[in-house]
């Protein structure tokens, strides 16, 4: 924990506490008055007449009963005084202008809902007090703070979303601060950032500063590194706490493109440690598929580590002329390539025909001039599908027939016959060196070593395309490296040999960097040098919650800036995400390589609050219940004392109470699961997802009960009583249909749950998502429930969607329907999009949409509420108004009937378009 919360107890009606003073009087009174006599009928009274009590004072109320009663009365008084735990806001009204600073960073995203609620409380309070408010998200670019009325800000609160980056240079906010004195409330993520001390000092100089801290169990992933055959995933937490194990999951698409859990590891934080590392050892095929790592169950950008090329191991095929086997190793045209690539690529060697079936990412042809027609065609196909063909010149290429070479489709440029030798004994001029790489070159920005020499090379025929195809040239402009796009792939030709015969390029570090730029090797030792000079385009970016979003119109990022970001962490201009050039992709994660998460050290004078303090806990109920329980105890005790309660009865009563309150025995869980399975398979059971909100679950249950009644009355489907499903615990396979009401605070699901759901969807289950707010299912609008739905659905294997088309089977599986009202009407309902080639059936009003029953139906019409009935079959909730409303309910039921029919019969109705054809074929 960071700083203990200052716990405060306040009262709604403190004056009532004065009555506590009366307790001693009560004590005295209770002591003085003996317990009320019990009236008993007793025939033997005649024998009692004349028997006096020997001790008239002995039967006073016993002291423990007095204490019990005083406690009961005390608890009741305190209860009615309305005790509120930590009413921090209510206690300090404050006055004057209020500046609210919000750390809208990824570190705050994990408990953003609570933070939003806290902010709206704060604003509501400021509005009650009429305080002008200036609010700013410190993760944004500094802008002058302007005081406005609190309700203006409250309206904008929904738009305040956490960013995927940290606060950058808090000192930049100094000029943005308003003039004069003001109070500051800082909703902090608790992390240190450069310049924060300046900012807090400035704020303290202007007025009191209160810092509110959020949850302390933040864990962020570092960019995973590949080393020694395994992936090392590092994680960091700012607050050294007790030992904790955190699951990290590697996610990526399986061969069918469905995202799966590819590997897992446990990050074990030691007690007091802030760092943990885990190794994930995966075969290359799986490793190359990994797209990101996630901390299980955390929903912020820091819990996601995207991967890029650096984790991938390319499969590189090295092909040289087979005749060269007897040659010296150092003279082999492939020796340097092999050395350069060996550490981080999978090498395959052999002839062209041998390596093609291995589907390498790169094929290197070192001085290969003669290719058979089949080989040429195979290579061309392979390049066309996205392969990178890297060719090196050499004596054979130089000696090849230029006419044949001119026809070679696997040459980026036409070559002139023979080579050009410079700087040798028999040639003119000195050996040439390289010119700086042009901007269009993938090598742009690489630093040229001074001692680079090119002695011999092959020459290209000058033509119009030559300049465009040249990516590296000698200082006299002679092309040295040329390339040409071919289909989705490309062919790159180095006009020198791959060994040191013609130049010393293969001996230089530049050669390795060039290979890396071509994304053949991925040994990012020196990111800055590799990235420099290129412009990276953001492909996908992370939002603060760790969800992938489209990059929109984000500007491209210079390589140098990207390198800086990788080191120091993302900023507004370079949010975390995937950045790419044509050749390579780079992942930027929330935590930069050089960043250390350290907790903020707040200077003296700053009031630090716990975040939980923001929610005042009303203790009234607890105190009143305690008073009631004490009173009950008192009754028992009084009965016992007066002899009206048999000996042992209180114990039995207490035991009974304890048993009824105690947790149900855990035993026979297996039996319960079996029972459940039997119950679920006894018939068609409609199921709903338990959200944890009892009110919502109740409505879901009532809704499915109502729908079940209608199905029973109208169709051949006879559903059993609906069942609730706990996604994490229960088996889903029994249910053909799941109703899933989405609530704002729906928790993110664990990876295993997603896998279970995806299996369910793939095997023919159907889920009806209902945001229940009449919203247009997430398109454009962003109601909180829709956002929650997006969060949930992100991990689900959901096909492309479209609003239900007019000819969808849903519109005619039982009733003919045009729209699908629940308690709301008109919001679109989304189903799996029809295949683009669905054709209009001849003579039929429908397209031929035979296959593909949609696995999800998404809408926001709150169907369960429209369907819901009570135990007597009477509708539970009103729909619309009057007769029109009842009509709407009827249509809601019709939608439900259609839906269940669709679930159970699939596209049976669609098949019926073939009935005339079948009848005709039968000869009738």
């Amino acid at each position: 924990m960071t700083g203990l919360l200052p716990v405060g107890l306040g009262f709604d009606a403190p004056l009532l506490l004065l009555t506590l003073l009366a307790l001693p009087i009560l004590w005295w009174l209770l002591r003085a008055i003996p317990p009320a006599p019990v009236l008993r009928r007793f025939p033997g009274v005649a024998l009692l007449i004349g028997l006096d009590d020997r001790d008239t004072t002995s039967d006073r109320t016993p002291w423990w009963l007095l204490v019990l009663r005083i406690l009961a009365v005390g608890a009741a008084i305190i209860g009615f005084a309305g005790p509120v735990l930590a009413p921090a806001q209510a206690d300090r009204p404050g006055s004057g202008p209020l500046v609210i600073l919000v750390d809208g960073t990824w570190a705050a995203a994990a408990d953003w809902t609570a933070r939003s609620a806290y902010l709206s409380d704060l604003l509501a309070q400021a509005q009650r007090l009429g305080r002008p408010v200036a609010l700013a998200n410190l993760a944004d670019t500094p802008e002058p703070l302007i005081f406005q009325s609190a309700d203006t800000w409250a309206g904008r609160l929904a738009a305040l979303q956490p960013r995927a980056w940290a606060r950058a240079r808090d000192a930049d906010w100094l000029p943005a601060l308003p003039e004069g004195r003001f109070e500051t409330r800082w909703l902090s993520d608790g992390l240190d950032a450069p310049g924060t001390s300046d900012l807090t000092a400035a704020l303290l100089a202007r007025g009191p500063v209160t810092v509110t801290l959020g949850r302390a169990n933040l864990v962020a992933l570092r960019t995973p590194v590949f080393a020694d055959g395994a992936i090392t995933v590092g994680a960091e937490r700012p607050f050294a706490g007790p030992a904790a194990d955190v699951q990290v999951v590697a996610l990526g698409p399986d061969p069918s493109g469905v995202e799966r859990d590819l590997g897992r590891a446990v990050l074990a934080f030691g007690k007091g440690a802030t760092r943990a590392e885990a190794r994930i050892d995966l075969p290359p095929e799986l490793r190359n598929r990994i797209q990101r790592f996630e901390l299980d169950g955390a929903a912020h950008a820091g819990a996601v580590a995207l991967t890029d090329d650096s984790l991938k191991r390319r499969k590189v095929a090295l092909v040289s002329d087979a005749a060269d086997k007897e040659g010296l190793q150092l003279l082999s045209p492939l020796h340097y390539l092999r050395k350069a690539l060996e550490p981080d690529a999978v090498l395959i060697e052999g002839g062209v025909g041998d390596v093609l079936p291995a589907r390498p990412d790169v094929i290197v042809l070192a001085d290969v001039a003669q290719l058979t027609e089949t080989e040429t065609k195979g290579l061309a196909d392979w390049v066309g599908r996205g392969g990178l063909l890297l060719r090196f010149a050499g004596p054979r290429l130089a000696a090849a027939d230029p006419v044949r070479l001119a026809d070679d489709p696997l040459m980026p440029v036409r070559l002139r016959g023979g080579g050009k030798s410079v700087g040798g004994a028999m040639s003119w001029g000195a050996p040439k060196t390289l010119a700086a790489f042009p901007e269009s070159s993938p090598f742009h920005g690489l630093v040229l070593p001074e001692d680079l020499q090119v002695k011999t090379q092959v020459l290209a025929e000058p033509d119009a395309a030559l300049t465009a195809n040249t990516v590296a040239a000698l200082d006299d402009g002679t092309p040295l490296v040329t390339r040409k796009a071919l289909g989705q792939g490309q062919v790159v030709l180095f006009h020198v040999t791959a060994n040191a015969d013609w130049s010393n390029l293969p001996l230089s570090g530049l050669f390795v960097q060039m290979l890396e730029r071509l994304s053949i090797s991925t040994r990012s030792q020196d990111q800055a040098a590799i990235l420099a000079g290129q412009t990276f385009v953001p492909r996908r970016v992370l939002d603060g919650f760790g969800q992938m979003q489209g990059a929109g119109n984000l500007a491209g990022v210079a390589g140098a800036a990207l390198a800086a970001t990788l080191q120091a962490g993302p900023v507004a201009a370079v949010p975390p995400g995937i950045y790419a050039t044509a050749e390579r992709t780079v992942a930027v994660n929330a935590l930069g390589a050089g960043q250390v998460l350290s907790p903020m050290a707040w200077p003296a004078g700053v009031t630090i609050e716990g975040f939980a303090a923001a929610k005042p806990q009303d203790l009234k109920g607890a105190f009143l219940v305690a008073a009631l329980l004490l009173a009950l105890l008192d009754i028992l005790a009084a009965l016992r004392l007066s002899g009206r309660l048999a000996r042992g009865a209180p114990a039995a009563l207490a035991l009974g109470l304890a048993l009824s309150l105690g947790p149900a025995p855990q035993a026979r869980a297996q039996d319960a699961a079996d029972q459940r399975a039997i119950q679920a398979t006894e018939g068609v059971v409609l199921a709903y997802v338990e959200t944890g909100d009892p009110a919502v679950d109740e409505i879901s249950k009532a809704g499915l009960t109502g729908l079940g009644d209608q199905l029973l009355a109208r169709t051949a489907v006879e559903p059993q009583a609906p069942m609730g499903v706990d996604l994490a615990r229960d088996e889903l396979a029994f249910f053909p249909f799941l109703y899933w009401p989405v609530t704002e605070d729906a928790a993110p699901l664990a990876a295993a749950t997603y896998e279970k759901l995806n299996r369910y969807l793939r095997n023919g289950g159907m889920i009806l998502f209902d945001t229940g707010d009449g919203d247009g299912s997430g398109m454009g609008g962003a109601s909180p429930r829709t956002q929650a739905l997006q969060r949930i659905a992100a991990g689900l294997d959901i096909p492309p969607l479209e609003p239900v088309p007019e000819d969808h089977v849903l519109t005619r599986s039982f009733y003919l329907l045009q729209d699908f009202p629940g308690r709301f009407v008109g919001a679109p309902v989304w189903v799996e999009a029809a295949p683009p080639d669905a054709a209009l059936e001849k003579g039929m009003p429908f397209r031929n949409l035979n296959d593909g029953v949609t696995p999800v139906v998404i809408g926001g019409n709150d169907w369960a509420s429209a369907w819901a009935v009570d135990d007597y079959g009477v509708p539970l909730l009103p729909v619309g108004r009057g007769g029109a409303g009842e009509r709407q309910r009827e249509y809601a039921y019709r939608f439900g009937v259609n839906l269940i029919m669709y679930v159970l019969t699939g596209n049976y109705k669609s098949d019926q378009v073939h009935v005339p054809a079948l009848l005709e074929r039968l000869g009738q």
């Binding site: 009236l39 009692l48 007066s642």
Partner: protein, 298 residues
């Protein structure tokens, strides 16, 4: 004033009580295995007792000629003396008898009636004459001892009558025949004076008295605690105490004294005293009663 409707209500109430009471009593009486209880001596009766040689003074018609013809002497056929005894029952119908301390227990008066009627049935079966010292609601009237099955019906009706208005009803001795047996079923918790007088009356008539004290277990054990106001069932008497538990020993001592007194009184008349609680099975009480009725004539 007795309107027709109240009469009918009472009749119905009676009808409701009577069959169960009679049935219960029959049931209870069946538990007593009854031999012909002859007097084991010659006398008036139906059963053969012995032949004895005729003495002088025997009436000629008393000689059994058939037996005498078989020998030379004359024999007189003697029958066993089967003179019926008359038993008078008194069942206390006072308010104090309408008490049961717990749900499972019968009221004392119910137990007393049951025992009384069962004893009557047993005795009637044995040919005795049974009467009642009170008849229904009228304390002055009594049912004279008679034998026969119909008497049982009469007794049952009289026993099912209403409770007396007093807290403690004084024992009644009306209709007690001389040298008969009196069975008094009561809790004997009331004033000792009327009891003394009744016993004296019984003794004067030369009758034998069986005193059966029917008590609730609570009356025997006094299990009360704390501050209590005890009030008699009729409400006539009350006693308040702060420490009921403290009174227990002294109450039980008084009760013991009362029982000793009753034992002494019973002994004077040649009878016996017995304590029955409603907590114990009714058969036990009946067995004791039957043995006591028998035993007196040893």
């Amino acid at each position: 004033m007795r309107s027709v409707s109240s009469l009918r209500a009472r009749a119905e109430g009676l009808g409701a009580v009577l069959p169960p009471l009679l049935a219960d009593a029959e049931h209870l009486a069946a538990t007593v295995i009854l031999g012909e209880h002859g007097r084991r001596r010659a006398g008036m009766g139906d059963d053969f007792w012995q032949y004895r040689p005729a003495h002088a003074g025997d009436a000629a018609h008393s000689i059994d000629w058939r037996r005498s013809a078989r020998s030379d002497a004359h024999f007189v056929r003697e029958l066993e003396w089967q003179a019926a005894q008359s038993v008078t029952l008194w069942v206390d119908q006072g308010q104090s008898m309408h008490f049961a301390s717990a749900k499972g227990l019968p009221e004392k008066v119910d137990r007393a009636r049951l025992l009384g009627l069962a004893l009557a049935l047993v005795l009637l079966r044995g040919g005795e004459r049974v009467g009642l010292a009170h008849a229904g609601d009228d304390p002055g009237a009594a049912i004279a001892p008679r034998s026969g099955r119909s008497q049982a019906q009469v007794l049952a009706q009289a026993l099912a009558g209403r409770a007396a208005p007093d807290d403690y009803a004084p024992p009644l001795t009306a209709g007690v025949e001389a040298r008969s047996l009196v069975v008094l079923l009561s809790d004997f918790l009331g004033d000792i004076g009327p009891i003394l007088r009744a016993m004296a009356d019984i003794a004067n008539r030369g009758a034998r008295a069986l005193l059966v004290q029917v008590l609730d277990p609570a009356e025997r054990d006094f299990p009360y605690q704390g501050r209590v106001i005890f009030r008699s069932i009729g409400g006539g008497l009350a006693h308040e105490t702060r420490q009921a538990g403290d009174l227990r020993a002294r109450y039980r001592q008084r009760l013991g004294e009362r029982q000793d007194e009753l034992t002494r009184l019973a002994g004077h008349s040649g009878g016996r005293f017995h304590l029955l609680t409603t907590g114990a099975p009714a058969t036990e009480g009946l067995q004791w009663l039957y043995r006591a009725v028998q035993g007196g004539r040893g």
